[in-house]
């Protein structure tokens, strides 16, 4: 009856298709008040006066809090740089200055309008190069007073810097046949989960109770406790269904405002963000500038490289000092490179703090590295596929961190799988010059990616009716990791149907630590904990049955949810009866296991400021995109998209496919549509879902997914991470395809119709010279 490898349906499917799944926006608590946050409307300035007396006097308003009524210390993920409320200076548009709790949301909104706020506006720091220039105005004049969570290398507007300067870089450039230089600029990408951020907070008997749809409840508990200045055990986080997250619901956000107001008012307080508010303050994927210079020999081999990355942290460092480290893993992408100098800096600007989004900066680093490789191929005059296959990583190759990739030859297999369905044609044709025709192009991109290794825990209990309760703080952000994968893994040791395994939602009071739904970790890490607890529980079941049957445990088996004695078909004890016997004899049966993946070794001297040090349990990915470019409108349609992906073991093939199709779709959005333009005033120019263009059903092709399975001995039944990486090479593959179609090297994201038309024109001019 094994469910492993079957496309079992998700257990929360029925409640979701019927509209019965409860998200945080649906939570109601009796006596609940509604909160609205008052936010700055400019990006930078000095605060002169804040007067909330009129707002407080409005009937129906229960409380208005400002920096005077809230803790004033700063907290953060890497640098303690984020206050609850701005009090002396404004650091970004949308920064909270006050929060209102009122009987209705409409009253709270009116109260916000009554707040008097005087400030002296200053010119915001928006440009990354300006921000790191000598003598630049400091976004945080008091940065030296910020304490550190992680040992970031900081100075001025730099919130974190990773610097690697190995020997041999300059000599590689000295002997190069060609030096290829590129600069890439990429914009922000908004997670655009459909459920806006929401929270319901209560303060009961000295503890904060937080109901929320959050990707990482344990981190939220600790981060909120730190922000409020209380013990982590004084905060309880209860998770609800998550209406999408994609990294945007991983860190502390709006929770402190609801929590503080709940304490002040003694009532439950609900806060639901409006879409524009959510969009302009969400920790989006950061914009960045990537400068890359390669020393190349006559065949296109990269003898040495220089990579310089500026990541926009916005007004708070968030996770960006950690993300700088990813540049060391991605500097060569899927290909061998010589000695490489890497400098990656997380930069403060007067813009909303940025943060995690599926694939983090891997998406644009691979865009840069793969675009640059196409450029190298053009300069050297070699075929784009040939240069890749000649330099692809192999078993035993090392990342710049010194970590060895034992199984990188999977990349070659992935290229071979793609070749089978889309044979590569050596390119000889010149780009079309007919201005009315549709241009066609092909792009390829590849990457290794990691499986997040934060630990997890699971408890399995044998229920009275012989079903299994799977209790874990691991949460299902929609991926199916819990409602498909973990249930399938749990069912396996008991030879049960997946329908006989129930799951829980997170509760930090009752479940063990879980590292959150991030980095494709749940099936791999928590799945392993589920598998180990299943083995333990099965042993306990056998102990009870062996006493009952008076046989040795080695003579027992479980078939179809019943314990049997080997060779004696008449002796059979359904699990429900085991549960009843256990209750009378030894008490109820359950087992818990936790798992923390071993981390690979690396060279700590490889770089300074290196905070995110390992690339555990890697998977390998090759993507191929075919596009059609309309020369008149600049519109791009992706006509074919192929993914070859290493998954270890596909526990649920339909679930795996859903992650690949969904991630590629977000990647197509990143490549073609989704742009946040930030004005010189520091304000986002796209502020609604009408102007922030998301991929729609007619835009997106059906992805062809080719799964490779090299079981990972650490993962449950060999499973590795699946859901995050299929976004990583998408913008690269599409950028390469469009560049191929228009005959001009594209260097920015997103690639909107005007950018396409500009590239067509630039290509034409270039060829006329």
């Amino acid at each position: 009856m094994s469910a492993l490898g079957s496309s079992a349906a998700r257990s929360d499917g029925p409640v979701k298709v019927r509209g019965q799944a409860r998200y945080t926006v649906d939570v109601e608590v009796s006596g609940m008040l509604h909160c609205v946050i008052a936010r700055t409307t400019v990006a930078a300035g000095r605060i002169i006066r804040l007067d909330v007396s009129k707002a407080r006097a409005l009937p129906g308003v229960h409380a208005v809090i400002t920096a005077l009524e809230a803790p004033t210390h700063r907290t953060g993920l890497a640098v303690n740089d984020q206050p609850i409320f701005a009090s002396t200076y404004i650091s970004y548009e949308g920064e909270p200055i006050a929060a209102v709790a009122a009987d209705t949301k409409a009253i709270a909104r009116r109260a916000v309008e009554l707040i008097e706020f005087e400030f002296e506006e200053t010119i915001p720091m928006v440009d990354l190069d300006e921000s790191v220039a000598e003598g630049a105005r400091l976004v945080h004049p008091d940065w030296q007073t910020f304490s550190l969570v992680a040992p970031c290398e900081r100075y001025d507007n730099v919130a974190g810097e990773v610097f690697a300067d190995p020997q041999g870089v300059d000599s590689a450039f000295a002997q190069a046949a060609h030096v290829v230089v590129d600069e890439y600029q990429v914009g922000r990408q908004y997670q655009a989960y459909l459920e806006p951020k929401a929270v319901v907070a209560e303060y009961v008997s000295g503890r904060y109770l937080i109901q929320i749809s959050h990707q990482y409840p344990f981190s939220l508990r600790n981060r909120l406790a730190a922000a409020l200045g209380v013990r982590s055990s004084d905060v309880r986080v209860i998770g609800h269904h998550i209406g999408g997250g994609f990294g945007g619901k991983l860190d502390l956000g709006i929770e402190p405002y609801a929590a503080l107001l709940a304490k002040v008012t003694g009532r439950a307080v609900k806060l639901v963000q409006e879409r524009t508010e959510d969009l302009i303050t969400c920790p989006s994927r950061e914009n960045a500038i990537i400068r890359i210079r390669s020393a190349v020999d006559v065949d296109g081999k990269v003898l040495g490289r220089d990579l310089d990355v500026l990541l926009d942290s916005g007004a708070a460092a968030g996770d960006t000092p950690y993300l700088c480290s990813i540049a060391l893993f991605m500097a060569g992408g899927a290909y061998r490179i010589g000695p490489t100098r890497v400098r990656a800096r997380a930069i403060y600007t007067n813009t909303a703090p940025t943060g995690a989004f599926r694939g983090v900066n891997g998406t644009y680093l691979i865009f840069a590295v793969e675009r640059h490789l196409d450029h190298i191929a053009e300069v050297v005059g070699v075929d784009r596929m040939a240069i890749r296959l000649a330099n692809i990583l192999n078993d035993g190759d090392k990342l710049l961190s010194g970590q060895t990739l034992d199984d990188a030859s999977i990349l070659g297999e992935a290229f071979a799988e793609v070749e089978k369905v889309a044979p590569w044609v050596m390119e000889t044709r010149p780009p079309s010059t007919d201005s009315t025709s549709v241009l066609r192009g092909i792009g390829i991109a590849a990457t290794p990616w990691l499986t997040n290794s934060m630990p997890g825990e699971a408890t399995l209990r044998l229920a009275d009716d012989g079903t299994i309760c799977l209790i874990s703080a691991a949460n299902d952000n929609g991926s199916g990791a819990v409602t498909m994968g973990l249930r399938q893994i749990a069912a396996e040791e008991f030879d049960l149907s997946v329908e006989d395994v129930t799951t829980t939602l997170p509760d930090t009071d009752t479940q063990g630590f879980d590292g959150g739904s991030q980095g494709s970790r749940t099936t791999h890490v928590v799945g392993r904990a589920v598998h180990e607890s299943a083995i333990k529980l099965r042993q306990k079941i056998f102990d009870v049955a062996s006493k009952h049957f008076e046989v040795d445990v080695t003579d027992l088996e479980i078939v179809a949810g019943a314990v049997g004695v080997l060779g004696v078909p008449s002796l059979r004890l359904p699990l429900a009866e085991v549960a009843m016997i256990a209750r009378r004899t030894v008490g109820s049966l359950g087992a818990t296991a936790s798992y923390a993946p071993a981390l690979p070794s690396y060279d700590p001297s490889c770089a300074t400021g290196f905070l995110f040090t390992t690339f555990p349990n890697p998977t390998y990915h090759v993507h191929l995109a075919e596009v059609e470019v309309d020369q008149v409108t600049g519109n791009v349609s992706v006509t074919r998209y192929i993914v070859a992906q290493e998954v270890g073991k596909a526990i649920n093939p339909a679930g795996v496919y859903g992650q690949i199709q969904g991630a590629v779709t977000q990647g197509i959005g990143y490549a073609l549509y989704e742009g946040i333009d930030i004005g010189n005033d520091g304000r986002y120019q796209q502020r609604t879902l009408a102007s922030y263009r998301l991929p729609l059903a007619p835009d997106i092709p059906r992805v062809e997914a080719l799964l490779l399975e090299h079981p990972n001995p650490n993962g449950p039944f060999g499973a590795k991470g699946v859901a995050e990486p299929p976004i990583v090479p998408v913008a690269a593959a599409i950028g390469n395809a469009i560049s191929n179609a228009v005959g001009y090297q594209i260097t920015s994201l997103p690639i909107r119709p005007n950018d396409v038309l500009d590239a067509i024109e630039a290509g034409r001019k270039m060829r006329q010279k």
Binding site: R10, Y23, L194, G655, G658, Q661, L689, L696, V703
Partner: protein, 160 residues
């Protein structure tokens, strides 16, 4: 201002401000929270309901203008004991991930199938253009409709 509304074949009466959207009435007054609020600008489609069988964004229509119509929300699809065949197909095909867009998508597709029982993939995708799904990339939602219609054809052949 008094409002009489017929929702899922039941008559409701409420006292709401003029101009209140159907979405606010459904969620806040009638506590039918299956209809989701994603943007309040008619872009995301999470609040799609049927008015006399036609899909509409409940955030954009004033409730008072709908007196005398029949409003159907996600709570009116299927029964307490069984999902509609489309809902079943959505679950089985993997057309559901986070699920927040799902009620709106079920409403849009329910209307599509009622009008065109055997839609092509292109027709399904065009019908879905007003519903944003951030998770699935749409393919398995399209699969659900295709599986649903082919199953119906098989079922009708069986009964012949």
């Amino acid at each position: 201002m008094r409002l009489s509304l017929r929702v899922n074949s039941q008559d409701y009466a409420a006292d709401v401000e003029p101009g209140t959207s159907l979405l606010d009435v459904l969620r806040d007054e009638l506590h039918l929270t299956g209809t989701k609020e994603g943007c309040v600008e008619g872009e995301c489609g999470a609040c799609t309901v049927l008015v006399d069988g036609r899909p509409l964004d409940a955030c954009l229509v004033a409730a008072h203008g709908l007196e005398g119509t029949e409003v159907t929300t996600i709570e009116g699809i299927g029964t307490a004991d069984s999902m509609s065949s489309l809902q079943k197909a959505m679950v089985e095909a993997g057309g559901v991930q986070c699920g927040f867009c799902t009620p709106g998508i079920v409403m849009t597709l329910t209307a599509l199938i009622a009008e065109s029982p055997n839609p092509t993939e292109h027709e399904i995708r065009v019908a879905l253009a007003g519903n944003i799904c951030r998770c699935t990339g749409y393919a398995q939602i399209v699969d659900a409709v295709l599986a649903h219609t082919s199953e119906l054809q098989i079922a009708s052949k069986d009964t012949m």
